[in-house]
């Protein structure tokens, strides 16, 4: 199955603007991000605390929905999903 990952801001500098991944087996978003973290240590440093926990205020959307309101890191990916990764932007 094919999954698109779109990265914004700081994450874009690390993994590029958009990538398409072909997964041979079912994965959760958590598993996918862990794999991306192995491939891009810079991304792991940005997104995960040293304990391995995702920094909670990072925005991860699947098809326009924040994973915090899906099954969080256990959300299962399905064919055609588009993942968006972007940092918190909170100033005014």
């Amino acid at each position: 199955m094919k999954i698109a990952v779109r990265a914004f801001a700081d994450y874009r500098e690390i993994i590029g603007k958009e990538m398409e991944l072909v997964l041979s087996e079912e994965k959760t978003i958590g598993e996918l991000l862990a794999e991306l973290g192995d491939r891009y240590p810079g991304l792991r440093r940005e997104m995960f605390a040293s304990t391995g926990e995702l920094k909670e205020f990072i925005n991860i959307f699947i098809n326009g929905r924040n994973i915090a309101f899906l099954n969080d890191m256990d959300t299962t990916l399905i064919d055609g999903d588009t993942i968006a990764l972007f940092p918190p932007v909170a100033g005014g």
């Binding site: 801001a9 899906l70 909170a90």
Partner: protein, 256 residues
């Protein structure tokens, strides 16, 4: 020849807004004159949004902020002068906008947005601009906007990055559908141009929503990356279980 009364006002109005009346029509301009908009936060975003709304002839602007002007604000908060340092932002901005456009009414309120104050601050308001600097206050404003069925124009900035979206109760996701957490407070880095871009988008959205022109940024989050020189639209969706706006006829179309 001296013109008096309504005729003089009409001519002044037509001339002042000539360049936009050709876009909005006389009816659209009249809609703006009757519009009552709250700008919550008078900082990097709020000063820009409020300046465009005042210049465009929005008839009533309420500016709310609890801060005083600091010298480090002046790289981006273009309504303020060096001599304003130490003054209340809401008051200094009100004076500045009132002299920019004497035909409108500007009300500056030096107050903290809180559970206790929010209902009073949005009283008699048609549309709210979120120009705040933290998500705790934003979630509070979002809740009030949803309860009172008021459109909320969200904007936020950090460094070279910014985002904006238009939240319309019953029609779009609310802010709480999109963002789960308040990032830790920080003295965020900020470049003035980023505020200009996002603030100008917010002003445009406010005028579009008030006049019914164009297609608002509804269920679309605009993300601006000034470093890459690129803006991107992310399609967003309501959370049917949202603690604020879920429960009514929120239709979850996706498979998750």
């Amino acid at each position: 020849m001296i013109r008096r009364g309504k005729e003089a006002v009409r001519e002044y109005t037509v001339e002042r807004y000539q360049r936009q009346i050709s876009l909005l029509g006389a009816d659209g301009q009249e809609t703006l004159r009757r519009a009552r908009i709250l700008v919550s936060g008078v900082g990097g975003l709020g000063t820009i949004v409020a300046a465009y709304l005042a210049a465009a002839g929005v008839g009533f602007l309420r500016l709310v902020d609890h801060d005083q002007i600091e010298i480090s604000n002046l790289n981006r908060q273009l309504l303020f002068q060096a001599t304003d340092v130490g003054r209340e932002k809401s008051i200094a901005a009100t004076e500045r906008l009132q002299s920019l456009n004497p035909a409108i009414q500007v009300e500056g309120i030096n107050r903290t947005l809180s559970d206790e104050t929010v209902d009073e601050l949005i009283q008699d308001i048609d549309l709210i601009v979120d120009a705040l600097d933290n998500f705790t206050a934003r979630f509070l404003l979002n809740r009030a906007a949803f309860i009172h069925r008021l459109p909320l124009i969200h904007g936020a900035v950090r460094g070279f990055f910014g985002q904006a979206t238009t939240l319309i109760p019953g029609r779009t996701a609310c802010l709480q559908c999109l963002f789960a957490h308040s990032p830790p407070p920080e003295t965020f880095p900020i470049f003035g141009g980023t505020c200009g871009i996002i603030g100008a988008i917010q002003a445009t959205e406010a005028i579009k929503v008030m006049t019914g022109q164009g297609e608002p940024l509804a269920n679309r989050l605009f993300f601006w990356d000034g470093q890459a020189g690129e803006g991107t639209i992310m399609i967003t969706k309501r959370n049917p279980h949202c603690v604020i706006c879920g429960g009514e006829e929120g239709v979850n179309q996706d498979s998750h």
